[in-house]
Symmetry: D2
């Protein structure tokens, strides 16, 4: 695994818990992590249970005892690492967004295809049991023809103007801002549940244009009074309208400026026969409506998706004993291990990463040019 911050911790945890809950065909073996700061990476390896560490990611790729490369570094490094890993014949799992640009993403996809390695992208929200169950209902036609998807991903953690200029707010490191970080999740859920998008019209905004530079010594959250300021070069918020190939209408909004919404990742889908609603802050529940319920008895029912019938849920606790955010990653890693064991490419993979990147690029272009943009598929 390359990188060991928030997502590194999350992935490590998922690998550890996977064999406990499931009976995977392949059990992940935590060989090594890499990071540039030796002291920090050494400590991380110890706490998170990795056998060894490296201070240069290339060493990981050279090692013969490593079959899988897990990329949890800042976005601008994904392409170089993934391509090197693919060429070394390693299977790859990468955090999202796949790359800084469509071009980079396409090169990555080309590399994994050419070298015939298994590849996956970490859109973990697909793996909430409630979302998987929504997919099942849609696939079985229980919602009928889909008319609408409306998706919001609302956060508020950078609303304070004194919040520092972290790497996620710099275009050269992160590629995009809110759109690529959280909007990408909504987009991926939409494609998973409703289908491909053919055209978009976008609107993007940076509300706070300058922020104090992070104080390197003291870390991200402490700024001295005399902080210098730097320019925020990504979007604080993005919204877009979309049309799906199947005729459905989509509305999307992603923002880090929606006070009171810590991590509100939610969607509603309406079809000719029924509707579903989901909200990550209450991720075990799925609200479901069926138009053919008897008159007088029609209404959204709230299903606590913690039963055998709900994908992945049976591996955990008895009905009503809820699971949390981390389980989306355990489930995802389960799908990844299953895929490797069968030598099949799982979904979502680098292809999805490419398409998501294309849609996001179209949203950006549309926002600048003030007109609708088609997505080339």
């Amino acid at each position: 695994m390359i990188g060991y911050q928030f997502m590194g911790k999350m992935h490590s945890h998922a690998y550890r818990d996977l064999p406990f809950f499931f009976d995977p065909a392949l059990k992940p073996s935590l060989k090594a992590i890499s990071g540039r700061d030796e002291e920090a990476v050494k400590q991380a390896a110890e706490i998170m249970g990795w056998e060894s560490y490296e201070t240069d990611w290339r060493r990981l790729i050279d090692r013969k005892d490593i079959d899988v490369i897990d990329i949890v570094t800042p976005n601008h490094t994904h392409a170089e690492i993934a391509i090197a890993a693919a060429e070394a014949g390693k299977h790859i799992i990468s955090e999202k967004p796949l790359a800084l640009t469509v071009e980079e993403a396409e090169q990555m996809y080309e590399a994994v295809q050419k070298n015939q390695v298994i590849h996956m992208i970490c859109h973990n929200y697909r793996f909430a049991p409630a979302v998987q169950y929504a997919k099942k209902l849609i696939k079985e036609g229980k919602l009928g023809k889909i008319y609408h998807l409306r998706a919001n991903y609302l956060q508020d953690f950078i609303m304070d103007p004194s919040f520092p200029l972290i790497w996620r707010l710099k275009k050269e490191v992160s590629g995009s801002g809110t759109l690529g970080d959280i909007g990408a999740h909504s987009l991926d859920l939409a494609r998973f549940l409703v289908g491909e998008i053919t055209e978009v019209s976008g609107m993007m905004e940076t509300f706070i244009k300058e922020r104090p530079l992070p104080d390197a010594e003291e870390g991200l959250t402490a700024q001295s009074e005399n902080s210098e300021y730097g320019e925020v070069t990504v979007d604080d918020a993005a919204a877009f309208l979309a049309r799906f190939e199947n005729g459905a209408m989509g509305t999307f909004e992603a923002t880090r400026f929606a006070g009171g919404n810590r991590n509100k990742n939610k969607f509603e889908i309406n079809g000719s026969k029924g509707s579903v609603r989901w909200d990550m802050e209450n991720m075990n529940n799925l609200d479901v409506y069926f138009a053919d319920s008897p008159p007088g008895l029609q209404g959204f029912r709230t299903i606590n998706c913690t039963e055998e019938e709900h994908p992945y849920a049976g591996a955990y606790w008895p009905p009503g004993h809820i699971i949390g955010y981390e389980h989306t990653f355990i489930n995802l890693m389960h799908a990844f291990m299953e895929a490797i064991s069968k030598n099949e490419v799982p979904v979502p993979n680098f292809y999805d990463g490419v398409i998501n990147q294309r849609v996001m690029e179209a949203v950006e272009q549309s926002s600048i040019q003030k007109k609708w943009k088609n997505i080339s598929v």
Copy 2:
């Protein structure tokens, strides 16, 4: 009052209840209603408590004992009636949308200005105590600088393809479809709470393009097997992105194809200091978030707006004893009567009707031309 269907019943009720709950400077006197079907209008007058009736609306305008004309007819008749009423020196209250086109709306506004009559448009949702209280919080700066408004108005009553081609689905009678009928309410709330809109990008769709013609004899809901079909000439659903004069971003969606949502008119507004959320299906409640609540104690609080502090609520029942949809109209009529008694023009009025019409026209144009459109103010 001209017209006596759903909205006619609603307005009549509001006039009757107004003096019971408030102590208005002017008490409405229910002089006469008009409608073309003598039998029906006679019966309506009796049930709803009108002293007399007419079968030609022009007779109402001619009558000296009538000071106020209330227009609750289908949209294509608003302009002619309103202009005639204004020229006769009557005060006017009209259902929304004001007219079929911007041009018609402007002529109506010109007429009321020229003849110096009081005028109002029935955007009743402004008058829910919770909405009025949200306005108060915003006006007092409690939410700070506004970043976002997201508004949805979701219904599902025409999802059945056998639902007939009523007048609301014909452009020549209604002007527009979902956008003008319910999207107009979201738009009006947005302008009331956040301010003027400067540009929009829209998307509109008609999912069911042909419907059975209503059987004139049997009324709206019964179609014979051999029904003939007619073309639906308005939108079933509309969505648009908007920028406000003050820099806020707006996202809007109105649809009659969101199964399970009978009348879900809701919005959320996020500002630098706080947020509010409201949903008409639970109209007494306002969710409020303040960013300056102590750490650990931050969260949306649900306020049951049934107390003295909440505008209009004090006139009704003790705290916690909720009011319903009809009270938005009683409150609106109270504002109208107060305005007449003070010889002041209330809000929202025909000016708001004109601006709303301009925004909706820009949404339609934008949807056709696939690019952003400015709103001229």
Copy 3:
């Protein structure tokens, strides 16, 4: 109508609105109200639309042009008035609780039976469409055998120790406190929905034992610094366990000391085939669970009881356009008028008042004697 405070206003409104929404066989004619303060009763008559007023309730009973006596006075006067009215052959509708004691209640019931007048008691919550629909589901066996009812009625309006010693806090005027005022409503709903109660174990408490006397001149809410104090002689809170005749278990709690709950009157009923939940603060909704929903799709569905299928709801607005507290009274008055027109005794009536009183007396006795008490039926 005798009395003209909160409930007087409510009843008057219901009479006025009844013919507007329904097409009643009998239309109420608002003949006269009575009250001791001439100035106040005169003004009340005018605002609320009564033709005349009296300052002695006996005059109302003497009047030949009056067929129905509506009792909305403090509880200690109910018996005398009702008995006099019955003897004069008037139909009677009385606010709850019926009387101060079981004995009084029985005398009242005897009087209406002997004189063969129509009688009703104002347990209005039975008449919420959602509650009526719950009754329908239970009656049709949709919930199967009933195992549990849990009912809470939570308020908070007297939590401030400076809240004055109003009549509702004095046993000689009100008979009981929270139990009789709001616990009686829960009890009535329980009997309506589940059946008769055979035994109870109660617990009652007065948290604030002395309160400032109301300043007669200035009204209820203003106390001078030098207020004298008086003893609170009723319960602030009451809870009880109950067994129903059909084997179900009941738990009840009523309090005016549940901060944040303005008027939270709610219940849940669990049966072998399904469950229902209701909450007055969101009175249009009924949550319904069916055990025979397909595995994976089981959950409480939220029904907005505003459709034709929901009792009384069809008389008001289109689906999703909610009604409020006052509609429970309009519906109740409709049932009363229908009953008079058919010369049938409606439910709930004085018999229910007697039984409710017996249960409450058993709760009080049980609380004092610290043991279970049987209810004699």
Copy 4:
């Protein structure tokens, strides 16, 4: 660890995850588990990560390399194991309820005191961050004087009459039924948050008195058509009223017959200054009301307890990224390890087990004798 079913899995997981999230002074080392079925216990050890296994729990107690005994066996074995472990000088953590009877519980408590070992009882719900935060608010006086606690623990997993007669339904193995299994949790939360209980009045019921015997070969869920039946000797549902030492009133209900409630463990507490509400099915949230919020802005606020300020939450994911049921155990084990490292007895411990047992015994007695019972403390 002795036992390896549901709770064994849960405890094992907690030990594994503890050092990953926290930096505990003592890291648990998973030495050995015991169980009677060698094949099964061997497999469990492997999957759950235990170094070795035994088929007789006495061997575990004899082993020198084991410092802590974790008891997750059926209730009737707790006492014997715990006393033996205490005498061998092992620290002990036991599942609840502590024992079959008060007497047994007292013997266990005596043993741990005499042998001066650290002891804890697994009332895990205390360790939800939202519950810990509620405790903090109450301790700091933020809710003022406590007037009410109402607690429900509602399940529905044995409503089907064909559900077999598992050990939890037999008094000789489990001691009590719903009361001891889930009512004990509500009781423990009440004592943690409000204080000691001085008297109770209870009501208990067994709705389904006979059930098919489990088919030993096929496990718990499969019964053959020819199943023999056995008597259910514990309660299906229990409710009780309680008075707390500090004057507060408590109402409790625990049932496995509340259809639609899979695991609804919830409570509300009302004090003179504020209220809190919590529901395990949405365990990250705490609803908080403060009576001193400005007029007009009073209402329950929903706090997503996933922030640094919320006890234990900081060890996991960023704000808004929810945790699940298993984290209550990780937190509990953290408290246990901290206690051992400091040689202090943590809470809740065997003393709490004894008191909880006394209250439950009083509830049972009260239910039989039909009168209130005092709790001796």
